[in-house]
């Protein structure tokens, strides 16, 4: 990557805030509708402790939910991808499950677990495990039949084929889905915090809104964006690290 290419994301981010700042001032938009970024940053600094504490809470519920989603999603994905029959049978059920808006499930979770951390974790889990399941299952189900024949003609059991070929082969799908899943997990935990929690960025934003602290609401949004980007970057890096072979086209050009 050239220098400009590396700098581009930063330049665009700065440009985004500049346009925002100028737009708000030129169009004379009230701070209670859209505060300028300078005010958002200022207020975020004033409330930095509250923002930090609640961001950590959100990060915690997100990662906890995401962690469960990885374990559960991987297991279910392998189960579904194990055979064509299970794949065909369970896939529609999965689609139906995923079509239910997760925010509608939060009241049920509150009913079961009360207000607080647990519903947030579970919502993050519910919303983020689907892409993992689908990707792992698809990675396994699209195994080349010839390769399966080669191995079966050697007396390989289904388990051998999965361990030697199926699972390694679906790892790029798996890591790819993690990037999507982690951002979805944030959506899940914040939705839950907004509806039923007493801490977390979602809760903070709700309180700020009730108190007409509009800049702080946007401060909360910024925190979520930063957390989302950082987590995405972490999993993009993991993906490169573990399944570099799947990106060989790019590697070769770099070499």
């Amino acid at each position: 990557m050239s220098r400009t290419e590396r700098l581009a994301p930063w330049l665009f981010t700065v440009a985004f805030f500049v346009v925002w700042e100028i737009g708000v001032r030129v169009l004379d938009i009230g701070t209670y509708i859209l505060p300028p970024p300078s005010l958002v940053f200022e207020q975020s600094w004033v409330f930095r402790q509250a923002l930090f504490r609640n961001s950590m809470q959100t990060l915690y519920t997100t990662l906890a939910g995401f962690g469960i989603a990885v374990v559960f999603g991987l297991a279910l994905g392998i189960f579904i991808g194990w055979s064509k029959t299970i794949y065909n049978g369970l896939y529609p059920v999965m689609i139906g499950f995923n079509s239910v808006p997760k925010v509608a499930v939060v009241p049920v979770l509150v009913l079961w677990f009360g207000i607080g951390t647990v519903p947030a974790i579970l919502t993050a889990f519910l919303i983020s495990f689907f892409p993992i399941v689908v990707n792992v299952a698809t990675g396994l189900a699209t195994l080349e039949p010839e390769l399966e024949d080669v191995l079966r003609a050697l007396g390989a059991k289904k388990m051998d084929i999965m361990l030697k070929v199926g699972i390694p082969r679906s790892l790029p799908y798996f890591f790819g889905s993690l990037k999507v899943a982690i951002t979805l997990a944030f959506v899940g935990s914040v939705v839950s915090e907004t509806v039923a929690a007493n801490s977390g960025v979602g809760h903070l934003m709700l309180i700020a809104q009730a108190n007409s602290e509009v800049p702080l609401v946007f401060g909360g949004l910024l925190c979520l964006a930063v957390l989302g980007i950082v987590m995405y970057a972490v999993f993009a890096l993991l993906e490169q690290r573990f399944t570099g072979w799947a990106f060989r086209g790019q590697d070769r050009r770099a070499a």
């Binding site: 080349e144 010839e146 390769l147 024949d149 080669v150 191995l151 079966r152 003609a153 050697l154 007396g155 390989a156 051998d160 030697k164 070929v165 390694p168 082969r169 790892l171 399944t243 072979w245 799947a246 060989r248």
Partner: protein, 264 residues
């Protein structure tokens, strides 16, 4: 003559009772160490034959015997190679070639302990197909022809008694293909495993095989058999000699007749 592979009046049907009949009344025998080629038009059930012999698909009627015992599941003694080399991109070429040893008994039990020996064997095999020193490369760093050579090595690493080849050279350019014919002939002359080669290429069949079977289109039946009595090792120049060309034409006539029947 003891037959290593024997099909007796075999039907193969896919997709239940109303499915397509892929193979009808196929009977054939292959002697131990024989090189058999099967040719025919597309969709003549050549690949079904592969599935039957390796035990990947049971016959709908008739019996299949390999190495003296009836086939009732994957035979476990076969090496296979296909048109697509299907190497695993996360393994180096040598680890790809060693894959069968991680699966098939008795190698599987000793795989870790004999790692060094196995790697040496794989390297030696790579050298015989002209890929010496490429073991540490990843398959995607190799050309199509090199991958197909490696795929042959993978099919042979566990010293199978039966080698099943399903149009292994079909996707290669003409020069590479002819070069690999020689490589395969050399390997076979040295080790004398039993080979069943399925191919569209009549020159390939005549060059490599002891005997060529011609199949009709779906449902596949064996319509002609031709023994190839040419001396070995056969050179590529030999493929342009009149007697060689005559055999190719004879086979071509059989195929044409089959295709005529199909149209009418």
């Amino acid at each position: 003559m003891s037959r290593f592979v024997e099909l007796d009046d075999v039907d193969l049907m896919y997709g239940g009772p109303d499915g397509t009949l892929a193979l009808r009344g196929a009977s054939l025998g292959v002697a131990q160490g024989e090189f058999l080629a099967v040719v025919g038009p597309s969709g003549c059930g050549k690949s079904s034959l592969m599935k039957l012999v390796t035990g990947l698909h049971p016959p709908s009627r008739g019996s299949v015997r390999v190495a003296g015992s009836p086939v009732d599941g994957p035979v476990k003694i076969a090496g296979m190679a296909f048109q697509n080399p299907i190497m695993l991109p996360w393994r180096t070429t040598i680890d790809n070639i060693l894959l069968p040893l991680e699966i098939v008994q008795p190698h599987r039990r000793q795989f870790r302990a004999r790692r060094k020996e196995n790697e040496a064997a794989a390297e030696a095999l790579l050298a015989t197909v002209g890929l010496g020193g490429f073991g540490r490369k990843y398959p995607w760093q190799l050309s199509g022809g090199m991958q197909q050579r490696a795929s042959l090595c993978r099919a042979l690493i566990h010293q199978p008694e039966l080698l099943m080849l399903d149009e292994p050279f079909a996707a290669l350019d003409a020069f590479t293909r002819e070069e690999l014919w020689s490589v395969l002939q050399d390997l076979w002359l040295e080790k004398r495993f039993t080979v069943i080669l399925v191919t569209h290429d009549l020159r390939e069949a005549v060059y490599l095989a002891d005997r060529v079977l011609v199949m009709s289109s779906r449902p596949g039946r064996i319509v002609a058999e031709r023994r190839i009595e040419l001396e070995r090792p056969r050179s590529l120049a030999r493929t342009f000699d009149p007697d060689f060309v005559a055999i190719v034409h004879e086979l071509r006539d059989h195929i044409s007749a089959v295709r005529q029947g199909e149209v009418s």
